[in-house]
Symmetry: C2
Subunit: 441 residues, 2 copies
């Protein structure tokens, strides 16, 4: 074949996405999908190992999800609970960050497929979290946004503040009542925290802002299908949470099933609550990891993993965090909380280190429960540390300290601490902005 | 006519929007359109007068526009430069706030028309500010966003950070160069501040965040059609601003006209700069006040007002701030800055007070120039206080103190001060989030 002919030959696979070239050709590459608690911890735990780390996320920031409800209720700004991933991994020379949407995983070629590129891996860690799940009623997503992303939080804030604005200029009393009714569906930690925060906004923070409506007359309803709130906590704390919420004026409805959600309200069988703001905190489903891998998964879409967190038949693929179905020693599924994801990430890093050093692998993963916390309004919370359980102001202070401590980045910690102290003493909420370009009122 | 017949008769004007009922039926009503510096100052200046105040804005927040470029360049969060209008006027019992879009003004009936309501007034104050103006090239707005709203600032931040993300994974060197080129059009205060801030982000703040690109190689070009930057300031300070920008690596192009903007770059006659991020800081135009009032206006759409800031033939209508064309004693138009709007608002309040008390009106409005400031990057600025002019670090400190002082709300002041100190000592920018749900890379 002459050289002129060769030039005319098209490349072998013109449709194949461009492959990411190795930064350290002699080192094995660990690819991490997801920049949440699991993914970031995995990346930093691999800092001193002779591997090249590539972290892929669709956003450029790590989000401190446990405080997302505070963005939704206008206490914090998005930037106060989010840190740029590049900033977190800035000093870690063996790591790099890619912004991109994963479209699939080619497990045979060991390659993560993005929209326009592909990233080969030697080891893969999947930590892609969960999404809202509407139990087959995806149409509810429009009227009942969940609380998983900054966009969700901003949409909820906009809805809640916009409802008060519209109530202020509404003359129809029935419609005004609907605008001033807020329904939270789901009595887990997110639902409890959200209901408490909305009640506080309505009954304390903005009472003097309006002239035609009395925001203290707002109605906040928390609906839980089970028999108690915070089902993963001891019953005593569930009862304490219920009492605290009722003190804030929240109606707690237990054992009620939502049968329909629309823009005018929530239907529970024969009952109906007219309202304009609905918060979905009832169901989540694992990210598409199971379908990417064609792996076994549970009803919530979580990948069922081996005792060492690998996927059956793929010792080079780990799934951690909410995306994985992991059981504790009693056989119960681990809760979808940050400490579980972080412990799993540390375990995976230890296992990768052992493999690199040719040592025997560590014992199967064991979750250590460091406690459970949920906060209710401005100065109450329930805490369960296993050996000690308490509620009230002390739990709230503990909750605040722990959350500030685990916020990534000193600046965030510092600014959030000051913002909270400020709003604690003044009852003000600083981030009360309706950001949409087209206000609803 | 029988009573049964009467019930069937439709209301007189079914299409007429619902009128806002007076809160204090015995008091005259002052309606203010716009919650910027002029509108808020007018509202608070009327606090002790026997009038009912209604402030209408399309957003629920007052925006501290002079710091908007810091949101665009990821130094501050939107909530740090915005304060809810209801919060500002919370204690002022004679004032209420309406969220709404003004569609027109019925000067004969003395009524402001909103989309679904109408608001009758006895006195009207219009302070609706300005919008970006593309000199007949509205299609440029798509590729060259201005900097007037929080949405603008967020769009620019997203564009700038997204360009670096795309450059990091771009292998075509020509495209990478375009992605790392930033063109700012317009050499007024906004353009100068924006160019300095972008240069600082690229050359200092994010240099260690990327692995494939050297952000210090970014190119920032500031284009001004006139012969010098900051045309409203003395020549010596224009030269100082140019030197400071060049020290930060900004190319300053003077006397060049932009003839086209598209998604691939900027054309200036025969010259062409390939780039993916363009900032429009070149032109503004008054809000539609002139067309609402059918009043005389200048080329920039500003309403030409009488010496007492009323509209000719309408002593009950005042136009203030950027929306009005007001001249100083030398005959030059007043600059579109916050102090001018505030002084005009105070004047109008004084005039309304005199009218209520049956006293003679105050002398025609006179603007007192309190100085002019522009900042360039992390520690330089130029200041012109008339009697004293200076540049450098001292001007920068003065700029910082003055801006923090005038930020509305103690919380904002405090948090901004801390955020600035933090970024001054660490070169970090905390609000480096790309918020769109669909990242560009």
């Amino acid at each position: 074949m002459s050289s002129a002919q060769k030039e005319l030959t098209p490349p072998a696979s013109p449709s194949l996405p461009q492959e990411l070239a190795p930064a350290y050709p002699t080192l094995p590459r660990v690819v991490i999908i997801g920049g949440g608690f699991g993914g970031i911890t995995a990346a930093t735990s691999l800092a001193r190992l002779p591997v090249e780390v590539v972290l892929i996320d669709k956003y450029n920031y790590h989000l401190f999800q446990p405080l997302l409800y505070q963005v939704a209720t206008a206490a914090l700004s998005p930037a106060e609970i989010a840190a740029p991933i590049r900033g977190i991994l800035r000093e870690q020379k063996n790591a790099r960050v890619m912004l991109g949407h994963v479209t699939g995983i080619d497990t045979a070629r060991r390659c993560v497929m993005l929209e326009e590129r592909s990233v080969p891996y030697d080891t893969l860690i999947i930590s892609t979290g969960v999404r809202n799940h509407y139990f087959g009623h995806d149409e509810w997503a429009q009227v009942a946004p969940g609380l998983k992303t900054i966009a969700d939080a901003r949409a909820l804030r906009h809805k809640m503040l916009g409802a008060f604005e519209r109530a202020e200029s509404e003359t129809d009393l029935e419609e005004r009542r609907r605008l001033m009714t807020f329904v939270v569906i789901g009595g887990g930690a997110t639902g409890v925290e959200m209901a408490g925060a909305i009640a506080e906004v309505a009954r304390v923070a903005i009472t003097q802002d309006f002239r035609n409506i009395d925001t203290k007359m707002s109605r906040v309803v928390l609906i839980e299908a089970g028999t108690r709130l915070l089902p993963s906590m001891p019953e005593k704390l569930s009862a304490a949470a219920k009492r605290s919420l009722e003190k804030l004026g929240v109606e707690v409805w237990l054992g009620k099933y939502v049968t329909d959600c629309d823009s005018g309200g929530v239907t529970l069988g024969a009952e109906r609550i007219g309202c304009r703001t609905i918060v979905w905190a009832a169901g989540i489903i694992g990210s598409p990891a199971a379908s990417w891998l064609n792996a076994a998964h549970d009803r919530e879409g979580r990948v069922i993993v081996e005792p060492d967190l690998t996927v059956a038949g793929h010792p080079e693929i780990f799934v951690i965090g909410d995306t994985a179905m992991v059981r504790d020693k009693a056989g119960n599924p681990l809760p979808g909380v940050a400490p579980a994801a972080k412990q799993e990430a540390h375990y995976v890093a230890k296992l990768i280190k052992a493999r690199l050093e040719g040592k025997p692998p560590p014992k199967p993963f064991r979750y250590i429960n460091l406690g459970n916390l949920a906060t209710i309004g401005r100065s109450a919370a329930v805490a369960d540390f296993g050996f000690v359980r308490f509620s009230g102001l002390l739990a709230w202070l503990g909750w605040g300290l722990i959350h500030i401590y685990f916020l990534i980045g000193f600046r965030s910690r510092f600014i959030v601490a000051i913002t909270w102290l400020w709003s604690y003493f003044t009852f003000q909420r600083g981030a009360r902005l309706i950001m949409s370009d087209e206000p609803e009122a």
